[in-house]
């Protein structure tokens, strides 16, 4: 553990000494809670329709799949037509596209970003390497099975999947959301212990950075 994260006594500018325990003070350790659906089925259905038609993607290119994101935003494929937008901050995004293999170092940031997103949130695993490791099945630094660490709603296979595949994937995801089947965030909250145990098994250096880096 880094020195600045250890429990210590700090003297404030006014001369009063107080105890600081950075891991508890700085980082929120509260587990996510399961968020109930709207009390009325009709309202929930209406909200689900709106959520499906307005997918805001977190602009975090975790792997090589990020290269096909640019064409998706531009004239040939123009995903904006389908209500898909890119947001630069996890707080405002609903959809996290894991664009390819996740190295252990990125996995930590991906989890951090995912936990910052607001419920309901969706995850798409892009590329064969998120499904079973793909080309990197014997690599010492990439995870092989994404749904052990994050709740995945949809996988898009291929190396690398074409933008058309991504567009089709968005449409599939919309169907899932409209049907009320994309409850990944609640699933994550319910099985939080299990996910955390899996994550901690591969991420050995488990002190979370100040914020999202």
């Amino acid at each position: 553990m880094k020195e600045e994260l250890e429990k210590r006594i700090v003297k404030g500018p006014d001369g009063i000494e107080f105890e600081v325990e950075p891991l508890r003070d700085y980082y929120c350790e509260a587990a996510p809670t399961v968020m109930p659906q709207a009390y009325s089925k009709i309202i929930e259905g209406f909200f689900n329709w709106a959520r499906a038609e307005s997918l805001w993607i977190l602009g975090f290119g975790t792997g090589c799949g990020a290269i096909e994101m640019r064409p998706l935003m531009t004239p040939r494929f123009d995903a904006y037509r389908y209500g898909v937008q890119w947001r630069p901050t996890p707080r405002q995004s609903n959809l996290f596209i894991i664009s390819g293999y996740l190295s252990v170092k990125t996995l930590k940031r991906a989890i951090r970003s995912y936990e910052q997103m607001q419920n309901p949130k969706y995850v798409i695993g892009l590329g064969s390497c998120t499904i079973n490791g793909g080309m990197y099945w014997d690599s010492y630094n990439t995870i092989k099975c994404l749904d052990d660490y994050l709740p995945v709603d949809l996988y898009i296979a291929g190396c690398m999947p074409r933008p058309e595949a991504l567009l089709a994937g968005f449409e599939e995801l919309k169907k899932l959301i409209r049907a009320g089947k994309a409850e990944g965030a609640n699933q994550y909250a319910e099985n939080f212990e299990w996910y955390k145990a899996n994550q901690k098994k591969v991420i050995l250096d488990w002190d979370m950075p100040d914020y999202n880096w």
């Binding site: 975790t62 090589c64 990020a66 290269i67 040939r76 990125t106 014997d138 690398m160 100040d210 999202n212």
Partner: protein, 395 residues
């Protein structure tokens, strides 16, 4: 009292250094702010992060953090046969994968003593130049985007898609082509390829003209890019700077010209040079280099031999052993010198493969030095102007 001119006077002595040479930065003083850019940050070129210490609007210290994309290619290749390595090498660098294929294939051919047919060399050159155009188009959009001009990215990505169509026609894939094999290339040109290529090139040229007028003649772009991010030509060698970044500093070094490979000796071109060594010069060098590549493709399509084999006979690849030796093969990719250092030990597997990506030096030592005393607003532009791709740093 001297007039206050922010970011124009000499700030190189700031912040003060302590006696042991480290910077005198006390974070608890409240004067400085730690600012992480990336990996989840839209202004970062790919998945890496820059740890900035800022004072007001000025960066006083910058550190690059990489490793988010590390897959251990060099280790993985040690347990794959020579032909099994071929499909994974292209995954090292996403925007311009062909250089990995070429450098790897050339290194293996050299150590195994395989002579590549003439026509395969022409097709390889064609592929590499097409890849260079792709990469530059991506860069131009990124550079304009870093200064808040999203439209250029839309235009260039559109024509890049057209170029990807030509790739698809030729190789069957958009991004990872896996076309340049040890021994040659997989196939010849399809029928009518030259005509369709010419159409694409014309489209790219007209878009480039638009980009020139909208971006390079734009007063605000000039204001943001001229004189910003100056790299002293005297420092180029000690920081291992190659490619367009070096050429923008007035050093006419181009591997295609100095140590020609493939069919470059037969082609007619001059390296593009500028002298100002700022962001504007670097982007302008790349734009003009793009025009050179277009011209090269036209030359290649005219002068390429029409018939002949494209693949040299290989030994049985399942039991292919290469005698002990070591070599280094390089090429000039869109960002600088790309090279493969291959060591074999007489077995069926490479002993060691080391990839030299130009970003390795650009994004680490160079960026960390030149990011200091820069306005935060210019950090993204400066980083993009070095044209770095993180996957080739950590592989």
């Amino acid at each position: 009292m001297a007039p206050f001119k922010p970011f124009q006077d000499d700030r190189s002595q700031y912040p003060e250094k302590r006696a042991d040479g480290t910077l005198d930065i006390d974070l608890s003083s409240g004067k400085y702010l730690k600012l992480w850019q990336g990996p989840q940050h839209p202004g970062i070129t790919g998945n890496m992060s820059v740890e900035l210490t800022v004072c007001g609007d000025e960066v006083v210290e910058g550190k690059t953090h990489v490793g988010y994309l590390h897959r251990g290619f060099e280790k993985l290749m040690e347990r794959r046969t020579f032909i099994q390595c071929f499909p994974i090498v292209c995954r090292i660098c996403v925007p311009e994968p062909d250089f990995n294929e070429y450098c790897y294939a050339a290194a293996v051919e050299e150590l195994a003593g395989i002579k590549v047919p003439e026509k395969a060399n022409w097709i390889r050159t064609l592929i590499l130049e097409m890849g260079r155009i792709n990469s530059y188009l991506m860069y131009l959009g990124g550079q304009a985007g870093a200064f808040g001009m999203g439209v250029i990215g839309q235009w260039t990505t559109y024509v890049r898609d057209l170029m990807l169509d030509r790739f698809e026609e030729l190789t069957g894939a958009r991004i990872y082509h896996m076309f340049i094999m040890p021994g040659g290339v997989r196939d010849g040109l399809p029928d009518g390829f030259e005509a369709r290529m010419e159409e694409t090139l014309q489209e790219i040229e007209s878009t480039l003209q638009d980009v020139y007028e909208a971006m390079f003649c734009n007063a605000i772009y000039k204001k943001r890019a001229v004189g910003v991010g100056y790299i002293d030509p005297a420092l180029l060698d000690s920081y291992g700077v190659t490619g367009p970044t070096a050429r923008a500093a007035g050093v006419a070094k181009d591997v295609r010209r100095d140590q020609p490979y493939l069919v470059y000796p037969e082609l007619d071109f001059e390296p593009v040079v500028a002298t100002e060594s700022d962001i504007y010069a670097r982007s302008d060098v790349r734009r003009r280099d793009l025009l050179v590549s277009i011209d090269l493709i036209r030359q290649i399509l005219v002068r390429m031999p029409k018939a002949g084999p494209v693949m040299a006979p290989l030994p049985n690849v399942l039991h292919w052993k290469i005698p002990r030796g070591e070599t280094y093969v390089r090429g000039e990719c869109s960002r600088g010198e790309y090279g493969y250092y291959l060591v074999t030990d007489g077995s069926g597997y490479p002993r060691r493969v080391n990839v030299r990506g130009p970003s390795y030096t650009h994004a680490m030592a160079l960026l960390e030095r030149f990011i200091v005393n820069v306005n935060i607003a210019d950090v993204a532009g400066l980083m993009v102007s070095l044209h770095t791709y993180p996957p080739e740093i950590e592989r």
